[in-house]
Symmetry: C2
Subunit: 208 residues, 2 copies
């Protein structure tokens, strides 16, 4: 292109997921039209995030503080832990406004094909939280994929085994799974067979 | 979201054209998974570009140096100037490998509706280059929009008037327009009427 400075900035953007070289160029040229202060602010917001962000020491959610605002909120129900794959999932569930418990962010799901085993996700801290005895329910809200299912089974076994080893009753803890079925607004004929089959097997009682 | 650092970085990315908040979040979380060095490099490539990049003093193309590599290349034909709207257009034409002249980047086209007048684009420098007497052809390669057409007419008049005022002959300079017509590989039936109509009016002689 002639300009190595331009090349270098374009390469940076093109390294992001889903951003091709043409898009990267368009983004960089957009930045170039802005004031120096604005561009500096853009760059600073990235470096500051990386340097200063915390992962909540309780739930591993992203946070500006040692403990995230959700874990720190006394009005949330700390006896219910919703286990999710990543930070986006916390935001998605928060956006529904339907959940008042706390979270646990695994930072991934078990995926042998990608070389991600149980040790690569944040299981130990979850077990530690369960073993305090203050937890009444663990909701597994992982992706409805083979990897998500594998992780669900693994977590369930780890939780039960840990309680037993600690000599604690397993009756006081419910492990639940988020509902799977036909998405709201979808036609049955366009739903895949596996989902449709499961939604019949896992039907719920209709209250009229 | 809870994290202002995250919000701030997401806002930065979401301010880019065509990037919504969900995409911005995905990009930021991708950066967050990288090493601090890599993130610093990303941010630096942006600030360095803004602080150190030049606009070629001849043609206003983006450049690491005072004069861009195209204007500085003695093997390019400096008697032909191709006038384009922006830096991307220079790259697009360079990528065709069909052009060996030099460029002039206007930095925009005249668009009264957007408040962009002749003074907001780099016309004076173009006239200055034409008045040196070394230019044999000016190729107008602006967008085929109303704004592009308006700018074509304006540039043509400015060039002719300037030559006349300087007492120079207008015969020695050709002002040309890039060809407009059916795009290569397109079917006639899917071409819009205006393009098709013009391509009949502006037909060229077929050499068999």
């Amino acid at each position: 292109m002639g300009s190595q400075l331009l090349d270098s900035a374009v390469n940076s953007f093109a390294s992001l997921p889903g951003v091709g070289r043409k898009t990267a160029l368009r983004l960089v040229l957009n930045l170039l039209r802005r004031s120096e202060t604005e561009v500096q602010g853009f760059a600073d917001s990235i470096t500051r995030l990386k340097q200063e962000v915390h992962y909540c020491s309780e739930c591993r959610n992203i946070s500006d503080t040692e403990i995230c605002p959700i874990c720190n909120n006394p009005r949330r129900d700390h006896s219910i832990i919703c286990v999710v794959e990543n930070v986006q999932d916390v935001m998605s569930i928060e956006n529904t406004g339907q959940y008042n418990g706390v979270y646990h962010v695994l930072g991934g799901v078990i995926s042998p094909i990608d070389g991600i085993g149980p040790k690569d996700i944040e299981v130990d801290k979850l077990i530690e939280r369960v073993l305090t005895g203050d937890v009444k329910e663990v909701i597994l809200a992982l992706p409805t994929t083979m990897e998500g299912d594998t992780t669900n089974f693994y977590l369930y076994r780890r939780i039960i085994n840990s309680l037993e080893q600690a000599g604690m009753s397993t009756d006081s803890l419910t492990v639940s799974l988020i509902a799977r079925g036909i998405a709201i607004g979808n036609e049955l004929e366009y739903t895949d067979e596996i989902t449709l089959g499961r939604s019949i097997l896992n039907r719920t009682i209709f209250n009229g």
